[in-house]
């Protein structure tokens, strides 16, 4: 059994088909292509009611009164609930700080905040009833940025804070602040031959998962409730839901239903408590499904950020120091803001060696939409800025931007600004070399004998150019992301593995609470079980709360942590199986006592390959089951003053090269190719790994050129809550994405693997920006880039 920090032996299941390292296919693939896979919005129950949420129409206001009488009087309406109807004293929830009201109490703090809930026999009845609830607001001034949040007379978004960050923040409208000091940046600046300063803006991105927030709460006979839900972490939901309902956790049963994507947006609760409240109130099953408009208000977004950077370098291209200040807008509620701040600070200078740093990151409370987890989690905003800086410094020095990066690239052994040594491979220079070495796509691919194919030009089908004004640009970027939960969080997972004979065959069953959100964890768990237990047949039990927590499907951590838990439990099962084997057959062959034994191809074999027994015979009449927790090595919190500490478990690196064509007159961009090189440690399922990299890359592309939630600075109201005006890339916006996968094992991790899901989202955005700068010569200090920014018409 691997212990924290100890190297793990890497086993190859060469004898068992479908083990790790193979591109086995998804176990849920057939159900998903036939339309039979049941997502949370597909849940249905006889006699079920429909829940509807009434949301605040203003961003910051006192609630003077709420009148629900007309709504309650409507035929078909079963319940209307407001804050006053909450059953216990626990009326708030939150991932880290319980500052989010289940239903607004006294005031609303952001546009779209839930104020009341309705259950009715048809969604339209519920909508009409919600519309009849009269809420009287008295407007309050809106806090929308750092200046308004920290002004001397600033109104406090949350009065009377007593959370664990409230003591050390410089202002109550700052959720959390993390400085990092190492060396002496001021002194190092004296040595710099060039100093480059920049101010950057990162827009608010939405996860835009396609499956809307939804679920079904079914009252149980024992007074409890069973919730069928799409989430990223069942047990975290459970901990927040049960106290509000006044139920012990054992009476809130949760089963994961199909999850239509997540990307961080399902780490916080959305409709979970509301559905349970209505089900318990009415005694009937209640289904809630957000539509796309509501979804934009129903989950947290990626923090928009203002970033100020100063980089210094010597003439020969060595970075002297970095000073930076990152201001994240956390919106009205804390969500994951504190952890996002920790990431932004600790990863703020990128994958480079810099001895002298002066870093500050903070998240604000404002009346903007709440922001929290999204793929890349604090590292994305920083990467956009530091990579822009790296290009600017290289330009000032007259150096090739790749060479400049390679000259400063971190490697195994580099000390992070937090003082933490990087103790596994960090092939930053190599990834850049690889991505640069990939062949460039041919020029003018849009030209054909029949004229210009507009589908391959900026503007696409809109027929805006036949080649006029089109300039090609190439840009590079590389990024660093932490894997797993950091800063001392007890980040563990649990796996229950059972082995028995079914229908004359040895079968393993893997049961975890891991949220499969599309990433392919279920595929990998089966592979691990095959490799460790030598069986062909593996059953993946649906995820629920009948087994211990798996932690969140986020932070690129599930293959590492729940994969690690499955591996660990399989190893424990294997030991038990071998014990049974020894007991039954030990006397037949001396190797049972002397050799190292493996389970392969349905048999017990020696490490020399000699077959000792069939698993069917060993397990005849016996079933072996183990449920065990597994932890990665512990981390520690960052010091609140200096930012020093062993805060991260593992790092993940990706590099991108973007090739774009820009219609410089109209400011329209076509990304031609986004090549990626990434170190994945060990690709447990190469097909899925590449799929993750391509998907993450595309989300980075989106926020480079189109994706942004636009909030009115005067009213703090969201202006584009729809897929008509919040645009995500279509297949015509997405280029070919060649991927070069590097596998340098991390000895601390199961099979040497590295968490992979997020790193490609980091470097994709700055690579596209760099390519657009290369094509246009413009500075472009904000993302997403809009046509206005490329044409001087903003």
């Amino acid at each position: 059994m691997p212990t924290n920090g100890a190297p793990t032996k890497i086993t190859q299941g060469s004898q068992t088909k479908g083990g790790i390292g193979e591109s086995t296919l998804r176990p849920d693939g057939t159900l998903k292509v036939t339309g039979e896979f049941a997502y949370s919005s597909d849940m249905w129950h006889e006699d079920m009611l429909w829940g509807q949420i009434l949301r605040a129409t203003v961003a910051h206001a006192e609630i003077v009164s709420i009148d629900t009488s007309e709504a309650l009087a409507m035929a078909g309406v079963y319940a209307v609930m407001t804050y006053d109807d909450l059953p216990t004293d626990v009326k708030n929830y939150g991932l880290e700080i319980q500052d989010t009201p289940v239903l607004a109490h006294g005031k609303v703090r952001h546009h779209g905040e839930p104020v009341a809930i309705v259950a009715a026999d048809h969604p339209e009845t519920a909508r009409r009833a919600a519309a009849k609830i009269k809420v009287e607001y008295r407007d309050l001034p809106v806090i929308t940025d750092e200046a308004s949040a920290t002004a001397p007379d600033a109104i406090l978004v949350h009065e009377g804070r007593d959370d664990h960050h409230s003591g050390h923040v410089p202002h109550p409208n700052i959720v959390h602040r993390q400085p990092i000091f190492r060396g002496d940046a001021a002194e190092a600046a004296e040595r710099a031959d060039v100093i480059v300063k920049g101010e950057y803006t990162f827009g608010m991105q939405d996860q835009a998962f396609l499956g809307p927030e939804s679920g079904l709460a079914v009252p149980d006979e024992d007074g409890g409730v069973h919730l069928y839900i799409a989430t990223q972490w069942l047990h975290s939901d459970l901990k927040q839901i049960a106290p509000v309902l006044g139920l012990p956790e054992s009476k809130v049963r949760m089963t994961l239903s199909g999850v239509g994507g997540a990307f961080g947006g399902r780490e916080d609760l959305s409709m979970q408590i509301h559905a349970c409240l209505l089900a318990l109130r009415t005694g009937k099953p209640v289904k809630i499904v957000y539509n796309r408009f509501e979804s934009f208000f129903g989950h947290v977004h990626r923090h928009p950020a203002k970033l100020h950077y100063e980089h210094g370098a010597t003439k020969d291209g060595k970075l002297t120091h970095v000073k930076c200040r990152i201001v994240l807008d956390g919106g009205a509620y804390a969500s994951a803001s504190p952890a996002v701040v920790g990431n932004a600070a600790s990863l703020s200078i990128g994958p480079y060696v810099v001895e002298d740093v002066d870093i500050e990151a903070l998240a604000l409370y404002t009346n903007n939409p709440p922001c929290g987890a999204m793929r890349g989690f604090g590292a994305v905003q920083a990467c956009f800025a530091y990579e822009a800086q790296m290009d600017k410094v290289a330009k000032q020095l007259g150096m090739d931007p790749i060479k400049f990066r390679q000259l400063n690239a971190m490697e195994q052994g580099t000390i992070m600004p937090t003082g933490q040594p990087v103790d596994s491979p960090a092939p930053v220079a190599e990834l850049l070399r690889r991505v640069k070495a990939m062949p460039l796509p041919p020029e003018r691919q849009w030209e054909s004998s029949e004229g210009a194919d507009v589908r391959q030009l900026p503007g696409g089908l809109s027929n805006t150019t036949h080649g006029e004004g089109v300039v090609r640009g190439v840009g590079y970027a590389v990024g660093i992301k932490n894997v797993g939960f950091s800063e001392g969080f007890d980040d563990y997972s649990t796996a229950k593995v059972r082995m028995e004979v079914v229908g004359g065959e040895p079968v393993a069953t893997v049961h975890t609470a891991m949220a499969e959100v599309g990433q392919g964890g279920v595929t990998v768990h089966a592979q691990i079980a095959r490799t460790e237990l030598g069986v062909a047949q593996v059953t993946i039990h649906p995820a629920d709360t009948q087994v211990g927590s798996a932690g969140s499907t986020s932070a690129s951590r599930q293959t590492y942590v729940t994969g690690g838990a499955v591996k660990n439990s399989c190893e424990l099962v294997r030991e038990k199986v071998l014990e049974i084997g020894r007991r039954k057959f030990g006397s037949y062959h001396p190797a049972w006592a002397t050799a190292e034994l493996l389970l392969e191809g349905g048999k017990v074999v020696t490490d020399g390959g000699e077959v000792l027994a069939d698993l069917v015979d060993v397990l005849e009449g016996e079933a072996v089951e183990v449920e065990a927790e597994w932890r990665h090595r512990p981390t520690e919190a960052f010091d609140l003053r200096t930012g020093q500490g062993f805060g991260h478990v593992q790092y993940s690196f990706a590099a991108h090269r973007a090739v774009v064509e820009v219609d410089t007159e109209l400011g329209l961009v076509k990304v031609i190719e986004l090549a990626c090189a990434q170190d994945v440690g060990k690709a447990l399922n190469p097909l899925s790994v590449i799929g993750q990299i391509q998907g993450g890359t595309t989300q980075g592309l989106g926020v480079a050129v189109m994706e942004e939630i636009i909030v009115d600075p005067k009213t703090a109201k969201v202006r584009n809550p729809s897929f008509t005006d919040y645009l995500i890339p279509t297949i015509l916006d997405t280029p070919t994405i060649p991927v070069d996968v590097l596998e340098l094992a991390d000895d601390h991790a199961p099979y040497g693997l590295r968490g992979i899901g997020e790193a490609p989202t980091l470097s994709s955005t700055p690579a596209v920006l760099a390519a657009i700068r290369n094509a246009t010569g413009l500075e472009l200090n904000r993302t997403p880039v809009r046509p206005e920014h490329l044409t001087g018409t903003a």
Binding site: R127, A131, N291, F293, E450, G451, A452, D453, V454, R455, P458, G459, G460, L461, S462, N463, T464, T465, H466, E468, G469, E665, L666, G667, L668, K670, V705, M706, I710, R719, N720, S722, T724, D725, L727, P729, T730, I731, L732, D733, R786, P787, E788, T791, T793, A794
Partner: protein
């Protein structure tokens, strides 16, 4: 809400006369969005899907009579020669699924300045055939748009067809959006050369409260082409003429800042599209079509 399902055009007119607030629904690509998002709860929905006549078109001597519900996909596939501008515009509409349902009647009924068909209709020259139980009339396209999402229809009238002049010269259509497919126009521009009358016509979308023509630009260009003998000598249009035409097209805009784009960008982009579409159409007129036509 009531769902009215007339089986014939006459029944539809009768229903509309009886219920003037009834909202006609054909492709549903505007109406259903408003219903799904709870932006609209009409008392009556008037389904036009069962009226076959609305899905037909007729190519006449001088014009095409296009049924109000002919899907954009059909226009792209079957009317590229007769209505090249509208075919190009149709290709920019949303997605294949939407183009399979939506038609020009919906664009006209909604009369959003961002409707993709409008600039092409304005440039080609068209009349909207509307009818009520009181009778039928044809509204020239220039008089059809009366305000933001307002048109010249009376409450009891329905759009039956559009009569669009058959192309007598090259036509082009261009639309700016911040995505390469499936995007609502930030602004759009249509241009048609009419060699028979030696005139040009334009249409601008999403850059004013209603779709508009750039009349001053048209007049300037008509005069410049005439003066230089361009229609006969087929010379390349001088850059200064193209530039002034583009500037006048920009000046014809009266745009707003909104979530899709700034007023300043819209003016700028209309100018660029005007210059480019003029170049493409003129090159085509000069006989080098193969190198300049977009893919419709």
């Amino acid at each position: 809400m009531d769902f009215l399902r007339p089986a014939s055009w006459e029944e539809a007119l009768a229903a509309k006369a009886e219920h003037p607030t009834a909202v006609p629904i054909a492709g549903g690509t505007d109406v259903m969005v408003e219903i799904n998002f709870d932006h609209r709860r009409p008392e009556y929905l008037l389904d036009l899907n069962r009226i076959g006549d609305l899905y037909e078109w007729e190519v006449g001597e001088d014009s095409v009579r296009l049924g109000a519900s002919v899907p954009y996909t059909r226009i792209m596939e079957h009317l590229r020669a007769e209505l090249p501008g509208l075919a190009l515009a149709s290709h920019t509409v949303a997605s294949p699924q939407i183009r399979n349902r939506g038609g020009v009647g919906g664009n006209l009924g909604t009369a959003s300045p961002a409707g993709d068909a409008h600039p092409a209709l304005l440039a080609a020259g068209a009349e909207v055939e509307v009818e009520s139980v009181r009778g039928s009339r044809r509204i020239p396209i220039d008089e059809f748009y009366t305000g933001v999402k307002r048109n010249a229809l009376a409450a009891d009238e329905l759009i039956r067809a559009v009569h669009i002049k058959k192309a007598d010269g090259p036509q082009q259509y261009s639309k700016v959006g911040t995505r390469n497919a499936m995007v609502i126009a930030v602004c759009a521009f249509g241009l048609a050369l009419h060699p028979e009358t030696r005139t040009v016509r334009t249409g601008i979308g999403s850059a004013a409260p209603t779709p508009v023509r750039a009349k001053a630009a048209e007049e300037f260009l008509n005069a410049a082409l005439e003066e230089g003998g361009f229609w006969d000598n087929g010379k390349i249009i001088t850059p200064s003429v193209a530039k002034q035409f583009a500037d006048l097209c920009s000046a014809a805009c009266n745009p707003i800042d909104d979530v899709r784009g700034t007023a300043s960008y819209r003016r700028h982009a209309v100018g660029i599209m005007a210059r480019r579409t003029l170049t493409w159409t003129w090159e085509s007129y000069r006989g080098t079509a193969a190198h300049t036509e977009g893919v419709a």
